[in-house]
């Protein structure tokens, strides 16, 4: 292994990691900003809750299901026109962030809804009986009580995104997974493949530990 080879490898790895962070960071950010409200919306329009509305609940759930049932590779291609519209390009990590974000928002919205379901109905009822506004119930009871679950869901979403982002190579998104495929698989450079896989394992471990830490902190017992 020559020095230039190692330098080139490090350069490639650095670039790939930056691309991965860009793609995953953007989509995680968007899944928090949009996935939480969407999950909350689907939850509170359920039967027996204070915004009960069967039609809106169905529409919300249906949209989430469409995105979730489409294989990511297909979603990637299907969304090309939309990507062009949003970022003005269809290649590169930023372009790949668009389908990734859409998938992440839908995925996380469902996990958010599930976490909210886990909130003790009695606690919710007690809050309603106190006579506070629905906004305060959401802000002070629903979201804080579900917070540990929200962190866990976000961790699962982030880990899945690292996996999905490997497919982003198809639209020239780059990233660590793409590096592994291009060098390790197409060019038979097994060493690169092994290194990237090890690095991905470490990355996922880090995300998981961070998620667990915050979830435990949110549990308050």
């Amino acid at each position: 292994m020559t020095e230039s080879y190692i330098v080139e490898l490090l350069d490639n790895l650095k670039k790939a990691f930056l691309e991965t962070f860009l793609m995953c960071g953007t989509s995680i950010g968007l899944s928090i900003i949009l996935g939480v409200p969407l999950g909350l919306f689907i939850f509170i329009t359920r039967k027996g809750l204070f915004w009960e509305n069967r039609i809106l609940n169905f529409i919300g759930g249906f949209l989430v299901n469409i995105v979730r049932s489409t294989p990511f590779v297909i979603l990637l291609v299907l969304l090309i026109p939309f990507t062009q519209l949003v970022v003005g390009s269809t290649i590169g990590p930023l372009a790949a962030s668009v389908p990734l974000s859409i998938a992440a928002i839908a995925f996380y919205a469902r996990l958010v809804e599930n976490s909210l379901c886990e909130v003790d109905k009695g606690v919710l009822e007690a809050a309603i009986a106190v006579g506070v506004s629905n906004f305060i119930i959401v802000k002070d009871v629903l979201l804080p009580e579900a917070l540990a679950g929200l962190y866990r869901g976000l961790t699962i979403t982030a880990v899945s995104l690292v996996g999905y982002s490997a497919m982003a190579g198809i639209v020239g998104g780059g990233g660590v997974g793409d590096l592994a495929i291009r060098f390790g698989y197409y060019r038979y450079q097994t060493d690169i493949m092994v290194i990237t896989v090890i690095l991905l394992v470490i990355l996922v471990q880090l995300i998981q530990s961070l998620g667990d830490f915050f979830a435990r902190k949110a549990e308050k017992n």
Binding site: D120, A126, I128, V130, G131, V132, A218
Partner: protein, 335 residues
């Protein structure tokens, strides 16, 4: 104060219509502690929830201070709820908030300055005896302490009515008594009309003024607690009361004691007279007390004694007559 007028609640469940509350009408008076007792599934909880509309009646009306609240919505409903506190069997505290914040949460229903909130919360915590737990999380509290927080939260908005849904059913006996004592203090100190649901007659006996007995969605009997205990009319009530004032004798006593085995029921003033010792002095009979209990229901004594009378037939008959004249009820139980 609270008027139930033909309140009927039914909901669909598994294709059938379940009638949880059937045509219930009665009135709860201002300032009293009113009990609703019955087995589980009797509809007591559903009925209680119609008062703050956690459950809307299917038909009928609920009136509070003369105004029909049955169709309240939005802000009217929220305002109504700030005037009605509620505590629960499972306490239902917000687990991610400290004791202080759980109580402060209730105050968010009305506008309060930070300082007002702090003062009010500390005042409430002092009232329920939890001043030192202000910054603890619910997970660190015992059941009794959790219920105290529940009570502090429920009364923080100075409600006129306090609804208690099986408030002591998750607690042990000692804690139950201390929570009931606290509810009594709150009732007297703040003049809150209190409605308690329970399946335990002991809870009713300890603090209620009046009680409604419910079974299968209907109110079978309604009276002051003393009357319900001393002269229950409905069969269901009789069995409930008998479970509480339980005087089972070993069966062999019924056969061995050849003569008269009397069940003497005392109540009111008469329970405080020395009837038994008087009888023993006046008549030539032997009195042998086999079982007995004196309960104080709403501070009035109510006692049951099982006594074996031995002597000549004439003396026994006279003694029996003497006792019957001076007590509430005498029954011969081994005839």
């Amino acid at each position: 104060m609270i008027d139930f007028q033909n309140v009927h609640v039914s909901f669909p469940a598994k294709g059938k219509n379940i009638e949880a509350v059937k045509n219930v009408s009665f009135t709860i008076k201002e300032g009293e502690i009113f009990g609703i007792v019955g087995t589980s599934g009797a509809g007591k909880s559903t009925l209680l929830r119609t008062i703050n509309l956690l459950q809307r009646p299917t038909h009928g009306h609920v009136l509070i201070n003369g105004s029909d609240i049955t169709n309240f919505k939005g802000d009217d409903l929220r305002r109504l709820r700030t005037n009605i506190g509620m505590i629960f069997q499972q306490f239902n505290l917000i687990n991610t908030k400290t004791v202080f914040d759980n109580v402060a949460f209730a105050l968010k229903a009305k506008k309060h300055s930070k300082e007002e909130t702090r003062k009010k919360v500390l005042e409430m915590l002092q009232l329920v005896g939890l001043s030192d737990k202000s910054s603890a999380y619910p997970a660190k509290l015992s059941g009794g302490q959790k219920q105290r927080v529940g009570i502090a939260r429920a009364i923080a908005n100075n409600p006129k009515i306090l609804l208690c849904d099986e408030p002591t059913s998750a607690l042990d006996l000692e804690t139950t008594n201390s929570i009931l004592d606290l509810l009594k203090v709150v009732n007297i100190k703040l003049g809150i009309t209190t409605i308690i649901i329970s399946h335990e007659m002991n809870v009713i006996k300890k603090i209620c003024d009046r009680v409604a007995v419910m079974s299968n969605g209907e109110v079978l009997e309604l009276d002051n607690v003393f009357n319900i205990f001393t002269s229950p009319k409905h069969e269901f009530t009789i069995s409930l009361v008998n479970h509480t004032i339980n005087l089972d004798l070993p069966s062999h006593l019924f056969h061995e004691k050849g003569n008269r085995l009397l069940k003497i029921v005392y109540s009111g003033k008469k329970a405080e007279e020395a009837v038994i010792s008087d009888t023993a002095k006046r008549f030539n009979v032997h009195l042998n007390i086999l079982h007995g209990k004196i309960e104080y229901i709403t501070n009035k004594p109510f006692g049951v004694l099982i006594v074996h009378l031995d002597g000549t037939a004439n003396e026994v008959a006279n003694a029996e007559k003497y006792i019957a004249e001076r007590t509430f009820k005498v029954e011969v139980i081994n005839d």
